[in-house]
């Protein structure tokens, strides 16, 4: 039986290991070159995303890859993991002493796919793994199987052996199952092994996805926004996990992250790559500026359940006689799982979520992952049935209204994961949303399909369609800044503050602005 290669030794690695192997911050490790790219270019239609990118990745480096929305961070990552072929350039791999050179554009016989080695599974077997911005766990498998599916060297993956030597395969299955269970236990998910991956909260799912790639045997791990949409508690966990990977397991990491999360991983970084105008700039982390931190002054805090709070950041105008938005004792289930609401005491009684917003203003909903903020928003929008409770808008009861009538009543909702209609062009999106004046900076995007935009650009289009569409009274935004860059986030933030003088603007904050710890005791 084949041995299953090493796993994340979060607890067991000797402490002395850390000192000897951890590269000091700011100094580039002088390990062997694992990957060298020169002149990588990629254009989508007429839009040049990468324009002659040269880079070099050494053993033990921790690289932070940054850049504005649409600057090509994900494109570069897709090329490095062979999910996308560059238009031109040379890519040279050198893992485990074996060298492999890819030249682009590839020849016609390679394009036929007969002997094309520039494919994700080949790159992975050379040690280049990745995680995805949208996580991509196997949603209908449980967590244990999610990790077990990735473990290399399983005999039973060959159907002939699965039938012919089923007893051996079964024995190996037990080893694999306990190895994946152990892996989950290290992530603090011992009890959740049988849980379906689709039910997992973002923070946990990102941990599992990282562990899965490491367990599959990645030596170089590219992480696409590992901290986006994750609350502070899980953020710490993920950063700790990355630290273990980099310093104890000697993995080489390439991390895409947005500016406000960079401060948390800057301590790990040995190199900063900045993509701008299709070019890559290599810097030392000491020279990279620290990101801005939003300071908010909380004046009025409503406690929602045990762990979440609703903060009025800025209120304007007089208190209206009737509350703008009133949510009373709301309880929402997904399937049989209680999402919004808390169990109270041992009797199984459920306390719903209640809050009242009486004045126009900007409100922050601080909630940890898995608290159900997104579900609460869907309930306000009428997209998910409500088990109990009332939702009032201007004193009118709206929970019997279908979603489209709630929109005419003045509610607007931006969901975190539904980034517009993929097959429409940006212009069609704006037309659909009845945006009268086109915001500046969108003209190069107008003719493009939503599906061809980057995650941040899609988010931008959806937000502007709401902000510049027809009048509304209550806007609820689920993590609006999640995949925006600093410049864009500031622009949207200004816009939201401006609107907050006469409307209710409620945004959920995934505890990433740094203020949550002060709010939640």
């Amino acid at each position: 039986m084949r041995q299953i290669p090493g796993r994340l030794n979060m607890d067991k690695a000797p402490a002395s290991n850390v000192k000897t192997s951890a590269p000091a911050r700011g100094s580039r490790p002088e390990g062997a070159v694992l990957l060298r790219a020169s002149g990588l270019s990629k254009a989508f239609g007429s839009q040049v995303v990468l324009d002659g990118v040269d880079l070099e990745l050494r053993q033990g480096e921790v690289v932070i890859l940054r850049g504005f929305n649409g600057s090509g961070k994900s494109t570069l990552l897709n090329i490095l993991s062979a999910n996308l072929e560059p238009d031109s350039g040379v890519l040279e791999l050198g893992v485990n002493g074996a060298r492999k050179i890819f030249r682009f554009p590839s020849r016609w016989w390679q394009k036929l796919g007969l002997k094309n080695e520039f494919i994700p599974e080949f790159m992975f077997n050379k040690g280049f793994g990745r995680t995805w911005q949208d996580i991509r766990l196997f949603s209908t498998l449980n967590l244990c199987d999610n990790i077990a599916a990735a473990i290399p060297g399983q005999m039973g993956e060959n159907p002939w052996l699965a039938v012919g030597r089923f007893a051996t395969v079964k024995r190996q299955e037990r080893t694999v199952a306990s190895a994946s269970q152990e892996e989950l236990a290290l992530l603090g998910l011992r009890e959740e092994g049988r849980m379906l991956a689709e039910k997992l909260s973002v923070g946990h799912a990102k941990c599992v996805a990282i562990a899965r790639a490491v367990r599959a045997g990645a030596k170089v791990l590219c992480l696409d926004e590992p901290l986006a949409g994750v609350d502070n508690l899980h953020k710490k966990k993920i950063v700790e996990l990355l630290r273990v990977l980099a310093q104890r397991e000697h993995l080489t990491l390439v991390i895409i992250e947005h500016s406000w999360n960079i401060s948390q991983i800057l301590g790990l970084a040995t190199t900063i790559w900045t993509l701008e105008g299709g070019k890559l700039r290599v810097e030392q982390p000491s020279k990279a500026g620290s990101p801005p931190v939003n300071e908010v002054s909380e004046s009025d805090i409503q406690q929602l359940g045990r762990t979440a709070t609703l903060t009025s950041v800025r209120v304007a105008g007089k208190e209206a006689s009737k509350p703008f938005l009133e949510v009373d004792d709301l309880v929402v289930y997904r399937g049989r799982r209680l999402i919004v609401g808390d169990y109270e005491g041992a009797g199984g009684k459920i306390k719903g979520v209640s809050f009242t917003l009486r004045q126009p203003g900007l409100y922050h909903l601080h909630a940890p992952n898995a608290w159900g903020a997104s579900t609460l928003i869907e309930a306000i929008a009428g997209l998910i049935p409500v088990a109990r409770g009332r939702i009032h808008l201007n004193g009118e009861n709206i929970e019997s209204l279908p979603p489209w009538q709630r929109v005419s009543a003045g509610v607007r909702v931006a969901l975190a994961r539904a980034n517009g209609f993929q097959s429409l062009t940006v212009r069609e999106m704006f037309d659909l949303a009845q945006v009268r004046s086109l915001p500046e900076g969108f003209s190069p995007l107008l003719a493009k399909q939503m599906s061809s935009l980057s995650g941040g650009e899609r988010q931008k289009v959806v937000l502007w369609s709401i902000l510049h569409g027809p009048e509304f009274q209550v806007g609820v935004f689920d993590e609006p800044f999640m995949s925006l860059d600093a410049r864009e986030a500031e622009r949207i933030g200004d816009e939201l503050s401006r609107l907050a003088s006469e409307k209710i603007i409620l945004i959920t904050v995934p505890a990433s602005t740094g203020s949550t710890e002060e709010v939640i005791p």
């Binding site: 494919i119 599974e121 991509r136 196997f138 498998l141 993956e157 159907p159 039938v163 790639a213």
Partner: protein, 293 residues
């Protein structure tokens, strides 16, 4: 008693077909309409091998399975590239071609069984050898073959191979990004699925003793797909539940003493109503966890 044995044999044939579709649609997530084509390949291979070559039951069945497994390469290689609706259309094309071959590989006056007239066209092939002489024995044979198929399914699908298929169904790109090749997994899974369909086809030909090109008709593919979906996809028990339900439902009408024409119409109506009810109340099927989109 005879009637019960007849039902048992049909149940075995249907259950094997539902298992076949469960592998392809439930585990691989590729909706196929070509299953009746592979069923026909099995039936014709068995019929020709026994009638013209005088082969015995077991080698004749293996011939059918082998040809179907080889022919499944058409689907699996297509599945390397196509997914979703395009793959469904492709499988429909495969079914249409096989049906066309069954109907048309018969040049008027040529003798049946030669290269000029392989399938005997619309007239079909009759006097196909039955390996056992009583219906009771045939039922035992069918049960045994179904049992073997079920054990193979269980070994394959609850092994790491089955897990790779499920992961591939959920997110192929993510699986490839973990260093697992998916091309050969598709080839094997499709060959297994099409081989099962051919096994059912051979049993069918042996039981009835007569086949004609209608075995490759689209209606059959749809009926079996309904069985697999109603039973529930992506697990090992769904196929049996689906086969039993869709077999017994119309049979119950037999006891209602209705005129045949009315009963036939009623049967179709029942199918329809049942499917609609199911989509409302249990879209993942009776035993299923996975919803076919």
């Amino acid at each position: 008693m005879n009637y019960l044995l007849h039902l048992t044999i049909y149940f075995c044939i249907y259950a094997i077909l539902a298992m076949s579709l469960n592998v392809m649609v439930g585990y691989c997530g590729k909706l196929t309409l070509a299953s009746s084509g592979y069923f026909a390949i099995g039936a014709y291979a068995y019929a020709l091998a026994t009638v013209k070559l005088g082969w015995h039951f077991v080698p004749a069945i293996f011939l059918g399975i082998l040809i179907a497994a080889l022919a499944s390469l058409v689907l699996s290689i297509a599945a390397w590239r196509f997914k979703g609706d395009v793959f469904v259309m492709f499988s429909l094309a495969v079914q249409a071609i096989i049906l066309g071959v069954c109907v048309n590989w018969a040049v008027g006056s040529a003798e049946f069984g030669t290269w000029a007239n392989l399938t005997n066209g619309p007239l079909g092939i009759s006097a196909i050898a039955n390996p056992v002489h009583t219906r009771g024995n045939f039922a035992v044979l069918a049960l045994a073959l179904m049992g073997i198929a079920a054990i193979l399914c269980r070994l394959l699908l609850s092994s790491p191979f089955g897990r790779i298929l499920l992961a591939m169904r959920d997110d192929e790109l993510a699986l490839r990004g973990l260093g697992k090749g998916v091309k050969m997994a598709k080839v094997y899974a499709f060959a297994f699925s099409c081989g099962l369909a051919a096994l059912a086809g051979s049993l069918y030909a042996a039981y009835l003793g007569y086949i004609n090109p209608s075995v490759a008709a689209l209606d059959f593919s749809v009926l079996w797909l309904c069985m697999a979906i109603i039973g529930g996809m992506g697990n090992l028990y769904g196929p049996f539940a689906g086969a039993a339900i869709l077999l017994l439902l119309p049979e119950m009408l037999r006891f209602a003493q209705l005129p045949t024409a009315v009963a036939d119409d009623l049967r179709l109506l029942l199918y329809g109503v049942f499917l609609i009810l199911l989509t409302f109340f249990r879209p993942q099927g009776i035993c299923g966890r996975y919803r076919v989109d």
